[in-house]
């Protein structure tokens, strides 16, 4: 992916530079120090072995248990939650504006995966010039899927794409949709901020009636499982925001989006209902995350049938879950579970019709080439998680279950926060990461922070864990902004995760 913005990158760095840095650097010190501590414990004293549940010994080193929540809190640095002020809103709002008009690369992932680096995109790809082959760039992530082993591809832009498509920028469909959501949400929260006209201009360009009519026609005829469920969920999230915005322009946009949203709501409800087992990977195919996003729409649109389908499925998938495997969630080291996941099904699998056949996503571990767009990530064994499976599930159940039932459920599902087994969800990561890896870890930090907020807010106010969840959430969010600020790779999709977290605090 390019590190510069096609319309000039200088304005992107300006708002970032305005963010106060003190807190970030203190968190950075703590995270580095605790990383060193992990190494010491892991190699020298091995106190962890006795505490490990029978899990893969290579999953992650484990620190010893703290005696109590208080001891955990004492070990954590005091980091205040990042402020959600106009400066931060301008920063987050500027990033989508830099991508919404940048053509998606010639071949995009089949489904809700993405979030990776863009392939040849932008205006350069419009011409037939570089149309040498599909393969070398087929995935759009620098991974050769081998498509050009036998077939030579030639490309043509869809006719009138700027009038018959709405979400054709930001590398992939779901990132375009989530970028629109970011733009809308920030306009709602900061109606008079400095980019209000520019933001509205872009929304008007993309959310016109003909654009959305074209989208609906595309999804009803050509799309198959394209972007289901993750992209659908983001579209619904966008529409939930538009519907609840008392604004004359927004009313028009909401009316334009409504038929597509309604169609996707029905399709998603049917899909989730038919799913035998949820996708539990840390990729964007993760079922819990999509249900979570779609629930916002079900509430905003008072879509009773969708809400019932989502809640029923969530209970069917997760209610009896216990002992989530937090040890598999080491962010920096990668994750066995992730390696079993969609994107580790490298190019080899992507070409396999059988693997595609499995794309219904009905895989407990989500090997589903399914929602995730099974191709990409050729670096087998590399970490791919952009979210925490354990926390995304817990955050969903926090809004599905009644408070008392949730407390019982989460006590059985997550280890105590002070337990060594919980350490992977508090660990240091991302210090030296660059590019797509940095973007991934940034999103992961925000998603964890978001989920932790949701969990904290579902617990009784007097529960001693509430403080700890909030503290951890702040740490992760702080880390997320740190990682987002100085690398452009994730700027077309990570801001949505950042804003999910900020919005969860309201």
């Amino acid at each position: 992916m390019r590190s510069t913005c096609p319309d000039g990158s200088s304005k992107r760095s300006t708002p970032a530079a305005l963010i106060p840095l003190q807190r970030q650097s203190s968190a950075m010190r703590w995270l580095s120090a605790s990383a060193a501590a992990l190494v010491v414990f892991g190699s020298a004293t091995l106190p962890a072995a006795a505490q490990q549940t029978p899990t893969r010994p290579d999953s992650t080193p484990v620190r010893p248990d703290y005696k109590s929540i208080d001891e955990l809190l004492a070990a954590l640095p005091k980091v205040a939650p990042p402020v959600f002020d106009e400066t931060r809103a301008l920063w987050l709002g500027a990033l989508p504006l830099g991508c919404v008009d940048r053509l998606q690369p010639r071949t995009t992932a089949r489904g809700g995966g993405g979030g990776g680096a863009a392939g040849p995109g932008g205006s350069a790809a419009v011409g037939p010039a570089a149309g040498d082959s599909a393969g070398g760039r087929a995935s759009g992530r620098g991974v050769n899927t081998g498509a050009n082993y036998f077939w030579v591809a030639s490309y043509r832009l869809v006719a009138n794409h700027n009038r018959t498509r709405a979400f054709w920028g930001c590398t992939d469909w779901h990132s375009a949709a989530s970028s629109m959501w970011v733009t809308v949400r920030l306009l709602k929260d900061f109606p008079r901020f400095g980019m209000k006209e520019l933001s509205r201009e872009k929304l008007a360009d993309h959310l016109g009636k003909s654009n959305l009519d074209g989208e609906l026609a595309f999804f009803q005829t050509d799309a198959g499982q394209f972007e289901r469920p993750y992209g659908y969920a983001w579209l619904l999230k966008l529409q939930s925001e538009l519907r609840t915005w008392p604004d004359s322009q927004a009313k028009r946009w909401a009316a334009n989006v409504a038929p597509l949203a309604s169609w996707m709501a029905d399709s998603l409800a049917a899909h989730i209902t038919a799913l035998r087992t949820p996708v539990r990977t840390g990729t964007q195919a993760n079922t819990a995350l999509s249900i979570h996003l779609a629930l916002d729409y079900a509430d905003a649109a008072a879509h009773v049938a969708l809400r019932r389908a989502l809640v029923t499925a969530a209970r069917r998938f997760y209610l009896t879950d216990r002992d989530c495997n937090t040890l598999a969630e080491a962010a920096a080291a990668g994750r066995g579970g992730a390696a079993r996941g969609a994107r580790a099904v490298a190019a080899a699998a992507a070409n396999d019709s059988a693997a595609r056949g499995a794309a219904a996503g009905a895989d407990a571990r989500g090997a589903g080439a399914g929602g995730a767009g099974g191709r990409g990530g050729g670096g087998a064994g590399a970490a791919v998680d952009v979210l925490s499976p354990c926390l995304s599930e817990a955050a969903l159940m926090a809004r599905v279950l009644e408070p008392a039932a949730f407390v019982t459920w989460v006590n059985a599902f997550l280890p105590p926060l002070q337990a060594g087994r919980f350490a992977p969800l508090t660990e240091a990561y991302g210090v030296g990461a660059v590019g797509a890896e940095r973007a991934r870890l940034s999103a992961l930090a925000f998603q964890r922070a978001h989920a932790m907020e949701r969990i904290a807010r579902a617990l009784p106010a007097a529960d001693p864990r509430v403080v700890a969840w909030h503290r951890l959430s702040a740490l992760h969010a702080d880390r997320g902004f740190e990682l987002l600020r100085d690398d452009a790779t994730g700027t077309h999709w990570v801001p949505a995760y950042a804003l999910l977290y900020l919005a969860a605090r309201n």
Partner: protein, 402 residues
């Protein structure tokens, strides 16, 4: 499609009852599980063995060799499907690579690695059953695909193909080459000479790949690390000491300390291999028996235990009764053969008087019988690669392998 399997429906149904999925753990709970929740518990291995239906191990015979070979024969020239991208923003048209018949070797059987393992299947069956009546057409097919220009074209392609087919396809290519080089046959010598530059290149890439691998890939599909090692070990041990050293070092690094394999996570919905069994299988071949036995005991749960049950969970009845459900998930049939192969290999490595040997062989036979029962059920989605894994299982029962 083939109907020569001797295994009866009833045996399979019994197998479904006793080896049923159970595993009503939280991670896999579905409504269907409740009906199967009542699992018999077994106090020991003998009781478990007694509960298994009697199913004879599959044997490689002339009849099944002919129809197994017919599958790769029928797909070698069936070109890869072209990608089918969703025409959201870009419309794509495809034309075949010019002169593909002379500049590409493995352009059939749906995908590159399946073309390679299909070729391996033909070579292996022809080696084992030289009097195959279809031998002449098999040789013609191999000759057309294994030409010098074809292989040079493939080498040229792979020099610029990034991680495409690494490691799964690479490992199969090396397995194919090992089979060719150990075949005393003039055609095979010629083909092996043509393939060697590609094999050498892939071996070098593989060594670098394993060296850089931070942790094993434990998925039940193509990128599985243990499976790659398993597939190429014969070639490495016979012809490539650097690769053999790499496999040994990295297997020790990645798997040596493993304990308590997470059987509860199996099988994943799209798995065609058992990660636990595949890892046990490669370690059984790499470790001395005295080292392997304690490693295995720490790694896999006792065969009669409830924890082992996910590894024997057969196709659910919903698939047997509903062919279209299978068609959507063709890997589940391959899984039966790949598990059977792994169990068969484990049985062959254990001391002959180890009480687990007959149990593993029986479990392997039950799995394979289930696979053979539905081997034709999904059409091309399966026929382009099932024969490779079915053959791989059958050869674990050859006298030479035991």
């Amino acid at each position: 499609m083939p109907r020569t399997t001797a295994y009866s429906w009833s045996a399979c149904l019994v197998a479904a009852l006793f080896c049923g999925s159970g595993q009503a753990t939280a991670q896999t709970a579905t409504p269907a599980d409740s009906a199967r929740a009542k699992q018999p518990e077994f106090p020991d291995l003998a009781a478990f063995f007694a509960s298994l239906p009697v199913v004879e191990p599959g044997r490689l015979e002339l009849t099944n060799a002919i129809w197994l070979a017919a599958m790769p024969l029928s797909c070698m020239d069936h070109p890869h499907n072209h990608p089918n991208p969703v025409p959201y923003l870009w419309e794509v048209t495809y034309t075949p690579v010019p002169d593909y018949e002379t500049t590409r070797a493995f352009y059939g059987c749906s995908d590159w690695h399946s073309a390679v393992n299909s070729a391996w299947t033909l070579v292996k069956l022809l080696k084992l059953v030289p009097d195959l009546p279809t031998a002449v057409v098999i040789r013609q097919k191999l000759n057309e695909h294994f030409g010098a220009t074809n292989m040079l074209g493939d080498l040229e392609f792979f020099r610029n193909a990034g991680t495409f087919e690494l490691p799964y396809g690479y490992a199969w290519l090396l397995r194919l080459q090992g089979e060719l080089r150990s075949w005393k046959d003039p055609d095979a010598a010629k083909w092996a000479a043509n393939i060697q530059p590609l094999a050498t290149y892939m071996s070098q890439r593989m060594i670098a790949y394993l060296k850089e691998l931070p942790q094993p890939v434990r998925t039940g599909v193509h990128p599985n690390t243990a499976m790659a090692m398993d597939n190429m070990l014969d070639y490495a041990m016979a012809y490539d000491s650097a690769l053999e050293r790499s496999i040994r070092e990295n297997a020790t690094r990645l798997f040596g300390a493993d304990k308590n394999c997470n059987t509860a996570a199996e099988p994943g919905g799209s798995d065609f291999a058992s990660p636990c069994l595949m890892e046990a299988s490669i370690m059984s071949r790499l470790l001395e028996r005295t080292a392997f036995l304690p490693w295995l005991d720490a790694f896999l749960p006792p065969i009669h235990s409830k924890e082992f049950r996910p590894l024997t969970q057969p196709l659910g009845p919903e698939f047997v009764e509903n062919p279209t459900a299978i068609a959507a998930r063709s890997h589940i049939i391959a899984l039966a053969f790949v598990r059977a192969k792994s169990m068969g290999e484990l049985a062959n490595v254990l001391p002959p008087d180890d009480p687990r040997v007959p149990v593993l062989r029986r479990l392997a036979a039950i799995q394979a019988a289930k696979g053979f029962q539905v081997i034709g059920a999904v059409g091309y989605d399966g026929s382009h690669y099932y024969a490779s894994w079915a053959t791989t299982y059958l050869i674990t029962n050859l006298p030479a392998a035991r």
